[in-house]
Symmetry: C2
Subunit: 550 residues, 2 copies
C-alpha cells in the first residue's frame, strides 16, 4: 500500500518528476560565496539502503492485520524507507548515504478512529512503539522511528483517514480527518466557496493532522491565523482512551485541553478528527514588493502594520543578507537589471531589504487595508516595487525544498530554523542568532514572516560547504549554537517547526523543569506504556540519549 497517489522522493523533497536545478548564474554565485563540489553527490539507489530485518513479532503483526486489514500492514523496502525519516537536513544526509537502519518494522494504515484506537491498544499491550505519520514533512525529527526502550516500532500512516467530513457554513467550521492533505482540503473547500488559508512551505504534502499536532503556521498566517487559532475542535485516540473536544467558539470551563492536544506531536495519542475555522475564499489577492532602507526600519514598519490593524495577510521582510542572496539567486529576472538598480540607488534603498506583502479578501477591504499599510510603509521610507516581486514570490512559494535537493547534490549544507519574540527583544534575538550561525556558515540570511501585536517571528537560513565525512557533526555544531543563542536571548525554541527530537533538549529552557514534569504527568496518564512517538517533544530521561546521532 502506497502512502497515496502523490509520491514523494524517499531521499529528498517532493514529486520525483519535478526538476528545478539551480540556474548557472546561481551556481556561479554560490561557488564564489561558499565553494561547491565539482562532482555531483547523488543519493544511493533504494536497493542499496541499509535496513534491519523487520522485528515485529508475528503475533503482533497478525493482530494488527486483523484490525486494519492484511493489505494495510506493510514491511516492504519502499514502505519502510519512505517512513524512515522526515525531511530535515540530517534526515536527508543519512538517507542519501543509504542509512535507514532505524526504519520502522512495519507501516500500518488504519482507516477509522476505532481502528486507530485498536492499533494503539494492541501496540501498548505488545510493547511496540508507534510513530504517527502524516505527510512525513517534519524538519525536526518529529517522525524519526526512535525505538527508545522498545524492541519494535510501527509507523501509523494516516493516509486512509483522510475524508472531508463536512462543512457547517453558518458556523464557518469544517470537519476533517487528519490524513487529508492540505491541497485536497483546499480543493474540497473551494468547491464550497471557502478556504482554510493555511499555506506552510510544506503545503503540497502537509496533512491537517500533522499541522495540528505540530502547531503549524503558514505563509499567510499573519492574516488567517496560525493553525492553533484555526482549530476549534479535536478528537484524539490515546492509548488510555478517547478525548473528544467538539468545536466551541469559546469557554471558561477550566484549562483549555484543546491547547494540550494541539502541538502534542504524537506523544499523547493520535488526532483522528479536527474542526477547523474556515472563511469565504478571497475574491482578490494582491501580492507586491517593497524595498525598505534597512532591516531596522523594516521591522519598525512591520510593528506598526501589526499594531495599527494594517498588517497584510502575507508579510515577509528579508534582511539585507537575504535580500542580496535572493537577488543573486534570481539573476536577471529579479531586480538586478541596471535600470532597476539605478532606480533603487536613486531612492536610497539599493542595499536595503525586500518586503513582500500580500493582501487578500473582498476588494474593498483589500483596498482599505492596503491604503493604510502603504501609508505606514511610506513613513518608514519604503519604496514600492509593484506587483512583480510579490507575484514572483507567490509562484515559487513552495519551491525552496526542491532547491535543497540540488544543493545537497553539490555538497552544500543548507538548513533553516526559526524563533519568535516580542518586538522589544527582536533585534537582540536577531543579532544573537545571526552571530551564532555565522561562526558555522558563511551565508546566513533571515526574514520576518509572522506578525503579532506583541512581536514577530525570525526565520534563518544558513549555507556552508559540507564537511565531507562529518556532515552530521557539522550540522549539529551549527544547530546547537543557534539553539543556545535563542534560549539565551529569550526567543522561543521554535515558532512553527515544532519540537520533535531536535529541539527536545531545549524545551526545559522554555517550559521549565516543572513544566516538563507537568507534561510528563499528562503523558503518563494518556499513554501509560509510553509507546507514543518516543523521544519526541519531551527530552528523554538520560541527557545522552537526547543527542540525535547518525
Amino acid at each position: 500500500m502506497a502512502a497515496d497517489g502523490r509520491g514523494m522522493r524517499w531521499w529528498g523533497w517532493g514529486d520525483p518528476a519535478h526538476h528545478a536545478p539551480l540556474p548557472a548564474h546561481a551556481v556561479a554565485w554560490l561557488e564564489r560565496e561558499i565553494g561547491l563540489e565539482r562532482e555531483p553527490r547523488r543519493p544511493v539507489g533504494i536497493e542499496e539502503v541499509r535496513l534491519r530485518p523487520p522485528a515485529l513479532p508475528e503475533g503482533v503483526r497478525a493482530r494488527l492485520e486483523a484490525i486494519v486489514g492484511a493489505s494495510a500492514v506493510c514491511d516492504d523496502r519502499e514502505a519502510r524507507v519512505l517512513h524512515a525519516a522526515g525531511k530535515g537536513y540530517p534526515d536527508l544526509v543519512r538517507l542519501r548515504a543509504g542509512d535507514a537502519e532505524s526504519a520502522p518494522d512495519a507501516v500500518v494504515w488504519p482507516a477509522s478512529h476505532e481502528q486507530v484506537a485498536a492499533v494503539l491498544e494492541a501496540s501498548a499491550a505488545a510493547g511496540v512503539a508507534v510513530v504517527p505519520f502524516g505527510g512525513g514533512t517534519s524538519v525536526v525529527g518529529g517522525v524519526e522511528p526512535w525505538r527508545g526502550e522498545f524492541g519494535a516500532l510501527v509507523a501509523l500512516d494516516l493516509g486512509r483517514l483522510s475524508a472531508f467530513v463536512g462543512l457547517d457554513e453558518r458556523s464557518q467550521l469544517a470537519l476533517v480527518e487528519p490524513g487529508m492533505r492540505a491541497p485536497d482540503l483546499e480543493a474540497a473547500l473551494a468547491e464550497r466557496g471557502h478556504t482554510l488559508g493555511h499555506f506552510p512551505q510544506s503545503y503540497e504534502y502537509l496533512t491537517i493532522g500533522g499541522a495540528v499536532a505540530t502547531r503549524s503556521a503558514g505563509q499567510a498566517s499573519t492574516g488567517y491565523g496560525r493553525i492553533d487559532e484555526l482549530v476549534k475542535g479535536v478528537r484524539m485516540a490515546a492509548p488510555a482512551g478517547e478525548l473528544d473536544l467538539p468545536a466551541r467558539p469559546a469557554s471558561a470551563a477550566g484549562p483549555d485541553l484543546r491547547e494540550l492536544l494541539v502541538g502534542s506531536e504524537g506523544v499523547l495519542g493520535v488526532i483522528t478528527q479536527v474542526a477547523l475555522r474556515v472563511r469565504p475564499r478571497p475574491i482578490q489577492t494582491r501580492y507586491e514588493g517593497w524595498m525598505l532602507p534597512s532591516f531596522a526600519l523594516g521591522v519598525e514598519a512591520l510593528r506598526l502594520l501589526a499594531q495599527e490593524n494594517a498588517a497584510p495577510d502575507v508579510a515577509r521582510l528579508s534582511d539585507e543578507d537575504e535580500t542580496r542572496m535572493a537577488f543573486a539567486l534570481a539573476g536577471r529576472g529579479g531586480l538586478k537589471g541596471d535600470l532597476a538598480r539605478r532606480y533603487l540607488h536613486a531612492r536610497g534603498v539599493e542595499a536595503g531589504c525586500l518586503f513582500v506583502a500580500g493582501w487578500e479578501g473582498e476588494p474593498e477591504r483589500v483596498r482599505s487595508r492596503r491604503t493604510a499599510g502603504a501609508a505606514i510603509l511610506g513613513r518608514c521610507g519604503a519604496v514600492g516595487l509593484g506587483r512583480s516581486p510579490g507575484q514572483a514570490w507567490a509562484r515559487g512559494r513552495f519551491h525552496a525544498p526542491y532547491l535543497r535537493d540540488d544543493l545537497l547534490d553539490r555538497g552544500v549544507m543548507v538548513e533553516t530554523l526559526e524563533t519568535a519574540t516580542t518586538w522589544g527583544n527582536l533585534h537582540a534575538l536577531y543579532r544573537a542568532v545571526g552571530d551564532a550561525l555565522r561562526a558555522h556558515a558563511p551565508l546566513v540570511a533571515c526574514h520576518v514572516s509572522h506578525l503579532y501585536a506583541t512581536g514577530a517571528s525570525l526565520y534563518f537560513s544558513f549555507l556552508a560547504r559540507q564537511q565531507r565525512g562529518a556532515e552530521l557533526e557539522q550540522w549539529r555544531g551549527a544547530k546547537h549554537a543557534a539553539c543556545q543563542a535563542i534560549v539565551a536571548a529569550g526567543g522561543t525554541i521554535t515558532h512553527h517547526h515544532a519540537v520533535g527530537r531536535d529541539h527536545a533538549p531545549y524545551l526545559a529552557a522554555e517550559d521549565g523543569e516543572l513544566g516538563l514534569e507537568a507534561l510528563r504527568a499528562l503523558k503518563a496518564r494518556l499513554d501509560p506504556a509510553g509507546i507514543m512517538n518516543p523521544g519526541k517533544l519531551l527530552p528523554p530521561a538520560t541527557p545522552a540519549s537526547a543527542d540525535r546521532s547518525g
Copy 2:
C-alpha cells in the same frame, strides 16, 4: 488587615455607601410579574453571623506569620466573614441568613511570589487547604472555603501583591501582579496612554489574577479579546515549585502550558504575575442602540457582523423578553414614551429586540467599521435608536449586582448563567435553556454578548419569588435544570463565569472522563498534597460531595 481601601459589603455587592434602590414603577412591575415580599428581608448584623472557632494549629499560624508578617495573618470576625464566600446567589442567601460556618480559619496576605511559595509549602506540609482570593467576586463558588479532607483552611488574599510592574510600550505588553484591581490597572495604563479593555460586570472589584484564573470575558471582549487572548505570559507558584512562562507572541514548542494555567481556578497554584497585551486608549467611543424585529433576525445580524469583520467592540443583543424587561425597569427614561413607541410601531419593531453596539478606537476606524456594521444591521431590518440607549447602557454597565441586593431584600430569587455554542447550534441551545428555566422561574431573559466567527455566547437571567425556607433548594432546582439543558444541547457549561463548585459536576460532559483524568494527573504533579482550592473545577471523588449544600 483590610482587603484594601475599597471595601465590599460582606453580605452583598459593592461599595457599602452605594444605594440604588429600584424605582417605584419597577417595583410595581415586578410585583405584578412575580410577586414581592411586603416586608424587606434584611441581612443579619455581622455580629450575629455564625462562625466556627478558628482551627488553624498554633504552630502553623506562627509559621505563616514568620513568612508574611504577624499583621498579615488575621482571624478576626470581619476578615473571616469577608472571605467566607464569593458573590453568587447561594452565597448571598447564606451570608444574609448569618451562615458563615465554613469561613476560613485565617486570612493570609503574602506580599511577593516568594512569600506565596513559602505559604504554599508550609500549608502543604501542615495539611492546610488554601483558597486563593482576589476580588472575591466569583458567582460559581470559586472561592468557597470548602475544606474537603483537611482540618483547616486559609484564604490567601492577594491584595498586597498588586503592583503595576511595568509597560513595554514597543511590545504592547504590561506586567502586572495578580492582586491589582482592574480599575487600578486601567488608571495606571491610562497615565501611559494605554488600556487593557477588559470590563466584566465585576470590573470594580475584579483582580487581574482572578480574571486570568477564571478565563474571564468582559463586556468589550468581542473587540478587545477575552482575557485568555490578552494574557501572553504567566508566572505561578505551585506547591511543587514554580512555573514561569514569559510573554511570547507565538510558539510551536509543544502543548501550550499557558493555556493550562489560564482557567486553573486556583487548583494548581497561585498566579503571581501576568503579562498582558495592552493597546493605545481609544480616541473615540460611540455607543448606540438599535431595534431588531426579532431575536432570530438579531442573531443573524450578529453572525454577519462577526463573520464580515464588522463586529462592534461591545455587542449586546437582548431577546424579546429581556428587551421588554429592560424597558419596564427603565421606566419613562427608557423607550416607553408614547412618541418612541409610535415610532417603533411604525417601523415594525415595537415588540423587537434591543441591540447595544459600542465602537471604540481611532476615529477613522470607528467610522469605517460602524458604516460596515450599520449596513449589515440595516439588511436585517434594524432600526437605529441613536446614541441615548447605548449611553444609558454604558452608564449602568456595572450596576446590576447592586440591583440584586435590593431584589434579595424583596424576596426575589435572581440569578444569571451563561454558555456559548456555534452559530449553527445557537437557536437550539437558546430554546433548550430557556425552556428549562421557565419551568422554575416566571421571568427568563437572555442576551448575546460575545461574538466569534464560529459562534456566540448566551447569557440568561431569571427571576422568581423566593420560596421561603427553601431558597437554596429552589435555586439548585433551576440551576441543575439549566446545566442539564446546556450539556444536552451541546453548549459549554460556562462561557465566562468559570467552573468553581457549581459547574464542577458538569465538567465531565465537556472534557470527558479521560479529560478530567488528565487534569487530575496534572494537579497531582503540581499540588501533590491536594491543598489548592479543594472541590473547585474538578469534580470531587465522590459524586455526593459535589452537591453544594448550604
